[in-house]
């Protein structure tokens, strides 16, 4: 009886996993399929899943005829910098919020949250005005600063929740053993916080990678554009080239996906399972 329940449980698990994979994979497969189709097959009825006449022409045209590679490089630079700065400042801030007591601590945390209550679409104009005053319009600096400012609040809150669940006892034990605060943080807190740090890094990267509005308003030069803006111009071109668009979409998503597949292993807690020894 128990074995039957266990098999049933495993079957259910398998079905759930399959469901999860399909709901994400099917649109991805569709994008892949369309990116490999020549124009006339794109609208074929009935729609074909496996292209009847597959071609790599969309990809080659994308790379040859548009500035796609430039946009890609820009996106990586800007998003990468944003992640570094956000994690650095965010982790420091979150650690302070959970390990130290100082006046106004809770107020500061809540105020930081207020940042999100203002719809981004409404603050984009004053941000442009501010950028102009600072002389950083049409620069990557403006982008990194804007992205960091809207990634920091949630990073602080998320990391704070993670740090909160790491008991202070562990650092104390390290102190008793003679380690300084810095070593305690590096060797004890960081590994336990790693899943939280990775999760935050993933979200920050994604938010920066996908930002359209701020980039569009702040950046004008083609050589500085990031992928969403560069790709949007492809979409807006009136004779829409679906194969090209899907090829662009594939190239935007797949490298990031591969990177995350490598990194998500670290979402597993590294060092000791939990650490609360008996």
């Amino acid at each position: 009886m128990r074995r039957l329940a266990r098999h049933g449980g495993r079957a259910l698990l398998g079905a759930a996993a399959l469901g999860l994979a399909s709901q994400a994979a099917l649109p991805l497969l569709w994008m892949l399929s369309t990116s490999l189709k020549p124009p006339r097959e794109v609208f074929a009825i009935p729609p074909t899943v496996i292209p009847a006449t597959p071609t790599l022409e969309n990809f080659s045209r994308l790379v040859r005829e548009t500035a796609f590679l430039t946009y890609f490089a820009n996106s990586i630079t800007v998003s990468g910098l944003t992640v570094l700065i956000t994690i650095a400042i965010g982790a420091t801030g979150a650690y302070s919020l959970t390990r130290f007591v100082f006046p106004g601590r809770e107020t500061i945390a809540k105020l930081i949250l207020c940042t999100y209550m203002f719809a981004p679409i409404m603050i984009v104009i004053p941000i442009y005005v501010l950028a102009r005053k600072l002389g950083i319009v049409n620069t990557h600096t403006a982008l990194v600063l804007s992205y960091t400012s809207f990634c920091l609040p949630f990073s602080l809150w998320l990391l704070r929740a993670f740090f909160q669940s790491i008991p202070v006892e562990l650092e104390e034990a390290a102190h008793v053993d003679g380690a300084g605060r810095a070593r305690a943080v590096v060797y004890i807190v960081a590994p336990l916080a790693l899943p939280g740090l990775i999760a935050t890094a993933i979200f920050t990267f994604t938010l920066a990678w996908n930002d359209y509005l701020f980039t569009r308003i702040l950046v004008s030069s083609d050589e500085l554009k990031t992928l969403p803006v560069g790709v949007q111009d492809l979409f807006a071109a009136a004779v829409v080239d679906w194969g090209l668009i899907m090829a662009a979409s594939m190239l935007i998503t797949v490298p990031a996906l591969a990177f995350f597949m490598a990194v998500q292993r670290h979402l597993v807690a590294g060092w000791g399972s939990g650490g609360l020894k008996g």
Binding site: P27, I45, G93, F100, M122, W157, N210, L257, G275
Partner: protein, 311 residues
């Protein structure tokens, strides 16, 4: 010697070490300072600007403005479009947040178990969130197109419906928008919850199993309490973000007249500023949204925060 878990959670400090030049409190302030400076620097000015603007009647293109005090706010309260947009916004935010939470936690639990191919599924599951919104919307509008999209094609072929369903038409666009938004943003919940699940000590589960607790009891008495802190933040963030969501909603409905069925408050505020060209009115709408979220958040904190401190 040690501090109780409760004291630690309240942020009680460790005994000061003699070598320290700075007190713990000062260190704490120093630690949050960079974050504060950046956020204040880049957000305070725009927010102040918007609040200031809301007291004026200003055309978006032209430099002159006319003081109206609370005139914009009074007009908003009388405005039928405002109330309709508010209702749609609440429906959208409420349903998408709730669904993201349910699916997200369930999916995280599934992905926490080991099975072959888990790494691949975990990476795939992140895919919807990583896709730029414009691409996601284009792909889904294509998939759901009633003429050449595969979804309707399958539904008709398998006999589930007699005629293709117009997913983006006036009757179904809100439903399809909600479904698409849940698809797009659930990975946020999944990844966060999964990260937290990974740091729950397995010993807790062992002990419970030894005591004879079944799956549901283990979930209810161990997993859920351990997740509370993270869930609190996730619900808060997703709620705020879905209420102020612009991109997905705008792109889903902008290409068509059916878009008026999904005109939520952020869309309406955008329209007042950029298509009606009434920047002051639009700013007032943004301020009202802000106040609503403040109130909602305060209530949320009052209801749930105290539990966190003793978790």
């Amino acid at each position: 010697m040690g501090l109780s878990a409760g004291a630690a959670a309240r942020g009680a400090t460790l005994p000061a070490r003699p070598r320290r030049r700075l007190s713990p409190a000062a260190l704490g302030v120093l630690g949050v300072l960079p974050a504060l400076v950046l956020i204040a620097g880049l957000i305070l000015y725009p927010v102040g600007y918007a609040i200031w603007l809301s007291f004026f009647d200003k055309h978006s293109f032209f430099p002159t403005e006319r003081w109206v005090g609370l005139g914009n706010y009074a007009q908003i309260l009388r405005d039928v479009e405002f109330w309709e947009s508010l209702w749609r916004g609440v429906v959208y935010a409420g349903s998408t947040t709730a669904l993201q939470l349910v699916f997200g936690v369930a999916a995280a639990l599934v992905l926490h178990r080991s099975f072959s191919g888990r790494t691949t599924v975990r990476a795939l599951v992140l895919f919807p969130y990583m896709l730029p919104t414009i691409v996601a919307v284009i792909v889904w509008r294509w998939l759901l197109n009633e003429t050449y999209g595969p979804v309707d094609h399958m539904l008709v072929r398998w006999g589930l419906v007699r005629e293709p369903i117009v997913w983006l038409g006036i009757d179904h666009i809100m439903t399809s928008l909600i479904a698409m938004s849940v698809w797009q943003f659930t990975p946020f919940v999944i990844v966060t919850v999964l990260a937290r699940l990974q740091t729950i000590p397995p010993e807790l589960y062992e002990a419970a199993r030894v005591d004879g607790a079944g799956a549901w009891r283990r979930f209810h008495f161990i997993t859920l309490p351990q997740l509370k802190a993270v869930l609190f933040v996730v619900i808060l963030l997703r709620g705020i973000w879905m209420f102020t969501k612009f991109d997905t909603v705008w792109l889903w409905g902008e290409g068509a007249g059916a878009g008026r069925e999904i005109k939520t408050l952020p869309i309406y505020a955008f329209m007042r500023t950029f298509t009606y060209y009434q920047a002051g009115f639009g700013a007032a709408l943004a301020v009202i949204m802000f106040l609503m979220l403040m109130v909602a958040t305060l209530i949320y904190f009052r209801l749930f925060w105290r539990e966190e401190e003793t978790a």
